[in-house]
Amino acid sequence: MTQAYHQLVKRLLDGELSLSDLPPELRAEGAEALRLLGAVDRTPVLLPLQLDARVMAEVRRRARSPVRRAWRRLVEPRDVELRLRVRPWVVWGGALAAAATVALLLAWPPASPGRIRPVRVAARDSVYVRFVLYAPGAKQVAVAGTFNQWDQNAARLVRLGADGIWTITLALPQGQHQYAFVVDGQRWVPDPAAPGIDDGFGRRNSVVAVTAHGARTL
């Protein structure tokens, strides 16, 4: 149990004040504090004579242990004096490098599986889009575009019967995609059912817009 005494009572216990110096309302508290202090057993503690010898023997035994000596060498703090002579431009250079590092860390985009756009849009809902091409003489038809890194082996269409109709259904991330059909691995053909735009290489790409409500041949 602890008791918080009034500040004046504490000064009384410290011998700075006498009981009569206390205001009347604190005298009872001061008297009680003095009584408790007087009741404390102040008899000196006498230690057995052998105690010193036993403690010192144990200290010497531990000090002799090579493992402990090695450990102490490793962990004990030591004074190391390091003297550097630097020119002012070195200090400034270091400060600027540190500032650049901080700026870099602040400006760096959060870690993600990748910083490429398809990954970002792939996080959104995908929509199934059906591609159809009429190519009666074709042996193989694929669709390549921004949604599959223009890989002509990534999405091969399937021939429906013997009518020359090729089709495939792909799950595309929402957004606008450009694409073209690849016939027999060589001929790049725009989708006749979709708007086309200049591809920058003298040909045309088809455009499809994929939204949550479906796909439009945008």
């Binding site: 735009i197 439009r216 945008l218």
Partner: protein, 226 residues
């Protein structure tokens, strides 16, 4: 002195980021494009990144050129042209009040500019695209309309008319296929666009999105209320 230090820090940051991006671009292009294309596109991408332009379309364009078997010089030229378009779009959007245009918006602007719209038209359409219309989507639709042969002014009238009529963003997306349908029936792209613009202006319930249709400031009650 402090300003100089800060400028140097920012420049150092940009340089470090560019240096970090170089292997990324090269790694993605290696084996997919002619060897001489890789450093050229990496340089264009680094320059674009330093100007805050999106890099991904440039990589995609290079990959596209490689997949199509185009000669190296043609691939590099196409990537450079696209970088120029992105830069022009970014500048147009910034001067049009879009100080922090994201990559989608810049790409949409580049797409529209590439299709033949002017800088002012791109700025105008971006500003007109208040919610629920996304400026990037509006610009892409406008770009596609222009690519279909609709003159830029008619494109602007049609898209802005649809927005002002309070039609849904889904209706906006339908415009290119509707223009195509009109062309298939024998109209010119301009005629098809004008017809759609007139239809949008006179469609029932047309009005600014979330606003009160002209002439109906004082409500007469909901005619559909039971």
């Amino acid at each position: 002195m402090r300003r100089a230090a800060l400028a140097l820090a920012i420049a150092s940051s940009g340089a470090l980021r560019l240096a970090a991006q170089q292997p990324d671009v090269a790694a993605r292009l290696n084996g997919r494009v002619p060897a001489e294309v890789v450093p050229a596109v990496a340089g264009v991408a680094a320059s674009a990144a330093s100007r805050g332009l999106p890099v991904e379309p440039l990589i995609q364009k290079a990959i596209e050129g490689g997949a199509k078997g185009r000669p190296a010089q043609q691939v590099i030229a196409a990537v450079r042209a696209l970088a120029d378009q992105l830069g022009a779009a970014s500048g147009a959007l910034r001067s049009g009040g879009f100080d922090h245009a994201d990559a989608d918006l810049v790409e949409g602007g580049a797409y529209a500019l590439g299709a033949g719209l002017s800088v002012r038209q791109v700025q105008h359409l971006a500003r007109a695209s208040r919610p629920p219309y996304e400026p990037a989507l509006t610009l892409r639709v406008a770009g596609t309309l222009a690519a279909l042969g609709v003159p830029p002014k008619n494109t602007l009238d049609l898209v802005e008319g649809l927005i002002n009529a309070g039609r849904s963003p889904s209706d906006l997306l339908d415009l290119p296929s509707e223009v195509q349908a009109g062309v298939a029936r024998g109209a010119t792209p301009a005629q098809a666009a004008d017809g759609l613009a007139r239809a949008a202006a006179h469609a029932p319930g047309s009005g600014p999105p979330g606003g009160v249709p002209p002439g109906q400031a004082k409500g007469h009650g909901n005619p559909h209320k039971p």
